[in-house]
């Protein structure tokens, strides 16, 4: 226990950086993913094709490969970062966007056909149908799966710790190396801080799910 209390500032700093990575990547991924989903259902064939390819490739890319690319290959290709956080955010947000696009697309499919027909029959354009009628309803049904994706994102941000970013996992590894005799306590401390983010989010997801289920 003493190890955790002694190193609480480090844990706290790591926790904040994990939170920061998750929030920023999550926000970028939400925007990117929604755009990809919109492109997927759009009338323009090139956009559909692009969105489909993007989702198919990124969903099947192991996260470590995405990180390896952003943190080690990109700098070799002349893309320089001030901090490795940027590489981590690029990897996490492009990876997560593919999953969000899929979730939003299935949400769009879950909206009743009559909604789109009604909107079109009163003369709305594609953009209006999507932004005023379909997406607001779709987002409501996709909130629980979206929260689950964000939970996965938080857990995935731990990979950043292996690519030069000192977040929770990175500090955990450092502390484990420094306190060879108390590795178990150190790592359980790290686990506790992860659960501090993921468990409340999981409860939120199931609550929202129940609420949405009642109103349908």
């Amino acid at each position: 226990m003493d190890v955790i209390i002694e190193n609480l500032p480090l844990y706290w700093e790591g926790f904040l950086r994990t939170l920061f990575l998750s929030v920023v990547s999550g926000a970028i991924a939400l925007v990117l993913g929604t755009l990809l989903a919109a492109a997927r259902v759009s009338p323009v064939a090139a956009l559909r094709g692009f969105s489909m390819t993007y989702v198919e490739v990124l969903r099947n890319t192991p996260l470590t490969i995405a990180f390896f690319f952003a943190a080690i290959v990109l700098p070799r290709l002349g893309v320089r970062f001030e901090q490795f956080e940027v590489a981590a955010i690029i990897a996490l947000s492009t990876y997560t966007a593919a999953f969000i696009a899929e979730a939003v697309r299935s949400g769009v499919n879950s909206v009743h056909v009559g909604q789109a027909e009604a909107a079109r029959s009163i003369g709305m354009q594609f953009g209006q149908v999507l932004s005023l009628i379909i997406l607001p309803q779709a987002l409501r049904t996709v909130i629980p799966p979206l929260i689950n994706i964000l939970i996965a994102l938080t857990k995935n941000s731990s990979v950043a710790g292996a690519f030069f970013v000192l977040e929770l996992f990175g500090y955990g590894r450092q502390l484990a190396n420094a306190n060879g005799d108390q590795v178990m306590t150190v790592l359980l401390g790290v686990a506790f801080f992860y659960l501090l983010i993921t468990v409340p989010l999981g409860i939120l997801a199931s609550t929202v799910e129940r609420k949405v289920a009642i109103s349908r």
């Binding site: 009338p43 090139a46 099947n60 890319t61 490969i65 002349g78 857990k155 990979v159 996992f169 992860y194």
Partner: protein
């Protein structure tokens, strides 16, 4: 579905869409061209950088990496499924003293990064890298399998269990003989999808120094020099992604096959409602 969102395009809309397609393609092609020229400026396309792929040892190392990746995934999958089944049975046990601790354990396992579990096993039990990777994957995926199977059992009509208990099966027999087979068949798509996730997660072994594909890339790049990093990485990533896409496709295929069968089967098996039979 997409056709509902917009009118069947007339000549004008088709023209606009065509222009949009062309513009979009040009934009995407432009992006690709920009990436390629940037890469070319770095000298990526010089022949000698790719000439390493004519060497047998490069391929044998890559092949070795693929094998270690697949073997970790296979062992983990084989171990995780029975453990998941067991956890699921404990999780839905009638005895609260078993159910509640299992639930806490499952929440704990599902809420933690897989890498952390791998590192935990590696450092605390001082095991080899292979054991650590497999143990991390087994613990996490068993928890996920347990939740998937539980969802499958809960989606069954109540009558299944009631009927089982009525004909004199014990609670355990009813679970094993009546409910689990149906639940597993029903949840097959999710289970296979989770197998894809498991396969992808083997790449996390890189972080605990397991000699899988990505680690081999690193080793080769360190050995041959940084110039060769990109070509080797490119080929390795392509292999990895190709394997995953194939497995995902199999998952989709199973899902299609499953839904067709289930639809036919359920429709035939379900008796006519009595109210409908009496006019």
């Amino acid at each position: 579905m997409s056709s509902v969102l917009y009118d069947v395009p007339g000549p004008k809309a088709r023209r606009v869409s065509l222009i949009g397609s062309v513009l979009g393609s040009v934009l995407i092609l432009g992006l690709v061209a920009w990436i390629i020229t940037t890469l070319a400026e770095q000298g990526i396309f010089q022949g000698q950088r790719w000439a390493i792929f004519t060497r047998g040892d490069v391929w044998s190392l890559l092949g070795n990496g693929v094998l270690t990746t697949l073997s970790a995934a296979a062992v983990a999958a084989v171990l995780a499924f029975p453990l998941g089944l067991l956890l699921c049975l404990l999780r839905i046990s009638d005895i609260a003293a078993i159910r509640i601790p299992t639930r806490i354990v499952l929440e704990f396992l599902r809420g933690m990064p897989v890498v952390l579990m791998m590192l935990f096993v590696l450092l605390v039990f001082a095991s080899g890298a292979f054991t650590a990777v497999v143990a991390g994957l087994v613990l996490y995926n068993a928890a996920v399998f347990a939740e998937i199977i539980r969802a499958g059992i809960q989606s069954l009509p109540k009558g299944q269990r009631e009927a089982g208990l009525t004909v004199g099966l014990t609670s355990f027999q009813s679970r094993m003989i009546i409910e689990l087979p149906q639940a597993i068949r029903r949840m097959m798509p999710s289970l296979v999808a989770q197998l894809v996730v498991l396969l992808k997660d083997t790449s996390l072994g890189y972080i605990v120094s397991y000699e899988e594909l990505l680690r081999k890339v690193q080793i080769m790049a360190d050995f041959l020099g940084p110039d060769f990093l990109f070509p080797i990485f490119f080929v390795a990533a392509a292999i990895y992604i190709a394997i995953n896409i194939v497995v995902s496709r199999i998952a989709v295929w199973i899902e299609r096959r499953g839904t067709v069968k289930a639809a036919g089967g359920v429709a035939k098996a379900e008796p006519e409602p009595i109210e409908a039979a009496v006019p």
